[in-house]
Symmetry: D2
């Protein structure tokens, strides 16, 4: 860590900073410039609380030199991590497309959806039984009954399931129903108690990016899960909040190469929630794969016009099938398969 | 609700929209313009799920005419609601400044803080026992032990306490320790299960705005609490995420008159988390009160340089005292007191 | 246009709105709902100034039904426009990659750059002679001398040139030096006098998106050029301002399909200014082409480490060559060539 | 400047950085930490182009220690600068409210406006003769004819005038008509050629903040004007672009204390363009003054409902008068007058 003192800083203030740095077990190197004095902390600077340093009298600014994330950082783990989901690898050379409806509605809908997902060539299925909705008066999901419908429909096609956990008290139920991948939604990316709990399981976790989370905050949220012992983490970019009103969220495609550089963990993209309209999904899906994503989370509904929520962002079965063909072509250009 | 059909919409598609609107129990009024046909839904449009309408073939866009929030809306409740906190009114003519440290650290710190808060003329005290921290390796708060220290210190000065609830499983503990005001933090504004649970209590709730929540989403989050039966809700603006890097968050002062127009519930401001630096707090506090806020949540630490977190945003006791004098002057200009 | 009156609107206020709409040459349709009265303007609503309507007493909100852009809108011009740049088509089936350095530095640098651009398979060359720099103390470009160097180097390879016009007073010089494509930079997207002037020429114009311009504002800026008679407009997405600090701008890949839907004009992407780092350029370039862009504006410098500005975002000649191979593969998947 | 080398940096790369720093006339101090080597540049680091340093092989990140702005910086000019506008001081203890209509429309409108502005107690008048409008089909201002009407109406009341310059070619006309304060609008904050030209005059300049400009970019834009020799610069915060759709722009009230700390030049606020609705103006005006602004730019129209543009954000004469009373009260609390 580098600490820049203000031009008016006194010797006593400089000594104060040095003392604080030593309390954290680091050594201090003082460098007196023409206009300002600069103090370098030498040692394991992750132990230093930057806010406390910034608060000391005479300090103008400080800068961390070492990244604050450890377990998830590629700096300490050079090779890609491949997450095993019931034998299906995510994060390796094969790209995985996770298809399915936004929410679980009926037994028939789920059975049909599972068949179409399988037929399109997807190896994993998504579906929401518990739905985070802006309004308390909107449909909140089928709950445990939905989990059951989902489990059954997916099992019939041999598809592992991905579903969102919103409430820490439902974790045991998720484990009972043997949910294969737990999804943490955008509104819960910094629900730290929830992160700690899924960190105590060994279930693969899809961690969606918070609505306006920086890449660094997102990596730190993953670090919460990892610190609990669960390293089976998959990042999912789903668009961030912006000033643009034409579409729902702005897909941050740059986050893909950035994450691939910063972490060894897999990165997938949700093109459906990003744009919010089905007609945008193919372009965004292709862009994500071309940028290096390890997979997608795509909404597909057997009959989009009858869906109970987020209908206008779901592909129909044929659109999903066609999309898979295009994606396969792009994957091959990159030396991958799908 | 107004539904605008695309220029190519067919009669069958127009009929489809009319049919859907009627399924929701509304009536439909068709108006054929030169370029587009427009359909108006007449009746209680809150029952209509806009996403499903948008998803129908031939629909170009739709617009809600009526606001989606009910209980919290001023439209249906013209007078200001005054929340009673152990006899102290929030939301009336008297402005309330809630002072105290970011986090509970030690018995002495809390005792001193409580004395200074009282001496500055504040009638309520804040302090965090459970802390949402970006890093899992940072200090996470003193927990239940902290609640106890806080309760004792505040009781000795006769100050009701405000503290943050992060985990739904801790709600009973909060009720046991008789927390007077439950704070929902920015990261949990859309933790819907937490909102539902505090909605089942009758405790006043301070609902902080999400990092990048729109005013409308914020009002809907409050509606979650209100729908459970608890109408004792206080909105707290604390700055939003922006592109500016000079300070931590951008205080959205415009949200104050906007909320006062849209809701009958009180609106307070947290100038400490907004700017992130103690030297910004007086200017932001004055701006908030001048813009019509009903109160403030201000960080004050007996010895800011020794604080365990967010040290650089806490005022010291003298600064808080001086700020109270300025705020009293501004309150008087607006015909209020403090 | 739809005008929603507030619940308290009087008959006189409703009459006032109807009168105003008729002044604009439109007809008015009044629809009285349970809670609000809604007035529809029938006719050419583009003539109505929305702000004036919103200002009338009793008006709660209004909504345009028809898009405010005309000449650039696909609604009125269904087929893709192909811009002819000295015989090279932009906007058709062939994707064009425009390569070259950020700024013109020396004769040798430009000669080498032109050779490498040609060798990589690009058909157009970029280079800045006038540079918009944040600081008045930074290198501001070689000016007219730079234009000359650029012209010569490109002519030797038979490459049309693209360069930025910042000052309306330099337009004649640009025409004298026969600049083939005039670039309007992000900071000038709403420099309306500059737009009007280039609108009076018949030169192809690359219109970069403003730092935080909405798609709608961008289309309207193009409409300024088109209204002057120059329809040779190329949109260039170059990333927008966001809260993320890891990279320079957030590439808005969703804007590509959105623009392709809203306008018949070509859309290209500048991956170099978006990310701001050379190592991000290949991933962003692939994503742009996969999402449907008609071309790219890529920085390539013969010796990036010696560049005079924006050095860390330029590819070296080999990197550009390799990128072209990948892009060709993706283009083929989409049925295009490069 | 501090340069952080990546963990894999070689000795040759370290030498390369040192060499480059010395080329800029600075000295280099090398500090080898456990994980990374850090190089400090000692001397006048403003001469170092950060982008070129970042581009050198082995460099991970770099940080400027000294602020890049000089003439406008408070660091080198401790006392407040007071700008003299025909004898009226801006930036001193007296707060100045600049009132007037958004655009010049007719002789009568301007005469009436000038009388009301004077009657409300304002000492300066605003009005737009050249209007930056999103659409080429909207009213673009009365042009030179408008300047004349404005000049006459203001002279009759002895009010200096403030008006926007959009086109560098109109500067001479502005000087001929003796415009007292030249306003640079938000869309032109980084129109560097325009900034350079007004920098060559000695006219006071109001520099509005760019739609999404950081405080640092804004200060650098002012530095462009100052570098030309014109130090009569007034910053004007007018709200920035955000994700919020309820109002037009988000007023960044925090920018006021930040600018007062970073620069010695005056800071005013435009509450009318920020919120975009007249009913928000009083609250935002009070907040701006309470936060320490030196003045306001407020829209007032003799008959807001008949205004030709931005009607819904203009106060009527009575509202302006009442606002002045409130502002006087707040100014007094801060030891200022109005």
């Amino acid at each position: 860590m580098i600490v820049v003192m203000s031009p008016e800083a006194t010797e006593t203030q400089i000594d104060g900073v040095v003392k604080k740095i030593k309390e954290y077990g680091c050594d201090a190197n003082i460098s007196r410039g023409v206009e300002r004095t600069i103090i370098g902390a030498i040692g394991d600077e992750r132990s230093i609380d930057q806010e406390l340093i910034d608060a000391l009298p005479g300090v103008e600014q400080s800068m961390h030199i070492v990244k604050p994330y450890k377990i998830v950082a590629r700096e300490w783990h050079k090779e890609n991590s491949v997450i095993d989901i019931k034998g299906i690898p995510l994060g390796g050379n094969t790209i995985q497309v996770i298809g399915g409806p936004c929410s679980v509605e009926t037994r028939q809908q789920m059975d049909a959806a599972a068949r179409f997902v399988k037929a399109a060539g997807c190896r994993l299925m998504r579906g929401g039984a518990f739905k985070p909705r802006t309004s308390p008066y909107s449909f909140q999901g089928k709950g445990v009954e939905g989990l059951e419908m989902f489990r059954r429909a997916a099992d019939a096609q041999g598809l592992p399931i991905v579903t969102e956990l919103m409430d820490v008290r439902m974790l045991d139920t998720f484990l009972e129903w043997n949910v294969d991948v737990i999804q943490i939604g955008t509104r819960n990316m910094q629900n730290f108690d929830l992160l700690k709990e899924v960190g105590r399981t060994n279930k693969p976790v899809i961690l969606k990016r918070g609505m306006s989370a920086t890449v660094s905050e997102w990596l730190m949220a993953a670090e919460y899960i990892a610190a609990g012992g669960n390293h089976n983490i998959i990042f999912c970019e789903r668009g961030v909040r912006s000033f643009e009103t034409y579409y729902r969220n702005m897909l941050d495609v740059t986050a893909i190469p950035v994450l691939k550089k910063e972490t060894h963990l897999p990165v997938i993209v949700d093109p459906s929630h990003a744009g919010g309209k089905a007609w945008m999904v193919p372009a965004l899906s292709r862009a994500a794969i071309a940028a290096g994503a390890d997979g997608l989370l795509v909404e597909m509904h057997p009959k989009p016009c009858e869906a109970w929520c987020d209908a206008d962002q779901a592909l129909n079965p044929d659109e999903l099938k066609n999309l898979m063909v295009e994606l396969k072509g792009i994957a091959q250009v990159l030396g991958r398969d799908i």
